[in-house]
């Protein structure tokens, strides 16, 4: 049973990995400055961000301004996780019930 399960996991992992590596075939070479990722959207951040947001750190500019809603979501994620942990791990003692 256990071995059988591990075999299936291994097969799934190998298939997934093979698929991912197959996908890299068409990928631009590592570090290619003209790859689509580096040439479609991002140049504008580099050239414009400082002008428009007055921040020398472009990553901060994009994080807190262009994609600020991602960052809002990010803080919401942390908030969710902290509340979740609080929710799950907090002990409610019986005497609290008598308080109100």
């Amino acid at each position: 049973m256990r071995n059988w399960f591990k075999l299936i996991s291994m097969a799934a992992v190998i298939i997934t990995g093979a698929l991912l590596i197959y996908g890299t075939h068409d990928m631009p070479a590592w570090g290619d400055p003209d790859s689509p990722a580096n040439s479609h959207v991002s140049p504008r951040y580099i050239t414009e961000a400082t002008k428009k947001t007055a921040t020398p750190n472009i990553v901060s500019a994009v994080l807190a301004d262009y994609r600020s809603y991602d960052t809002l979501g990010e803080s919401a994620v942390i908030f969710t996780a902290s509340i979740s942990c609080f929710f799950l791990l907090r002990r409610i003692r019986n005497k609290e019930d008598h308080n109100d």
């Binding site: 256990r2 990995g17 050239t47 969710t80 979740s84």
Partner: protein, 143 residues
């Protein structure tokens, strides 16, 4: 051929890392090992993403060095700076990964409190045993 490998090898390394994580998530029977696998998996995705922002040929971190100068903006060459977008995205992804790990650990604490083990097989055995003579009832997980 060598060129091809040189152009792609780092992607392949991330994929291999990813698959190690994925296998741990699916094949391991210890819950903490699964969680560690999850972390490896997420981290390797982050690496893959960040690596797409690399530009060869002298590009540096995307912080403008002479931003204080009036005419600094005109001097900016796109090829001088790394692609900032993947960094931004991965900042968020790192936070997500941490948050997930946190919640997963919280559930692991609950599981350990209840079953006093983190081996999946043992937990399943305990649950099977308890189901044999009682129907599930609503419990406060912190009991």
């Amino acid at each position: 051929m060598t060129e091809y490998i040189l152009a792609k090898y780092n992607y392949w390394i991330y994929v291999v890392l990813m698959m190690i994580g994925l296998y741990a998530m699916m094949g391991k029977r210890n819950l903490v090992k699964k969680l560690i696998g999850m972390n490896i998996f997420q981290t390797s995705i982050i690496l893959l993403f960040v690596s797409t922002g690399v530009k060869k040929g002298g590009a540096t971190v995307p912080i403008l060095m002479h931003a204080g100068h009036e005419h600094g903006a005109q001097l900016i060459q796109v090829s001088d700076y790394l692609n900032p977008l993947p960094h931004v995205l991965m900042l968020t992804a790192i936070v997500v990964s941490i948050a997930t790990t946190g919640v997963a650990l919280a559930t692991l604490i609950l599981i350990y409190k209840r079953y006093h083990t983190l081996e999946e097989d043992e937990i399943l055995a305990i649950r099977r045993e308890s189901r044999a003579y009682k129907t599930p009832r609503i419990l406060n997980p912190t009991d």
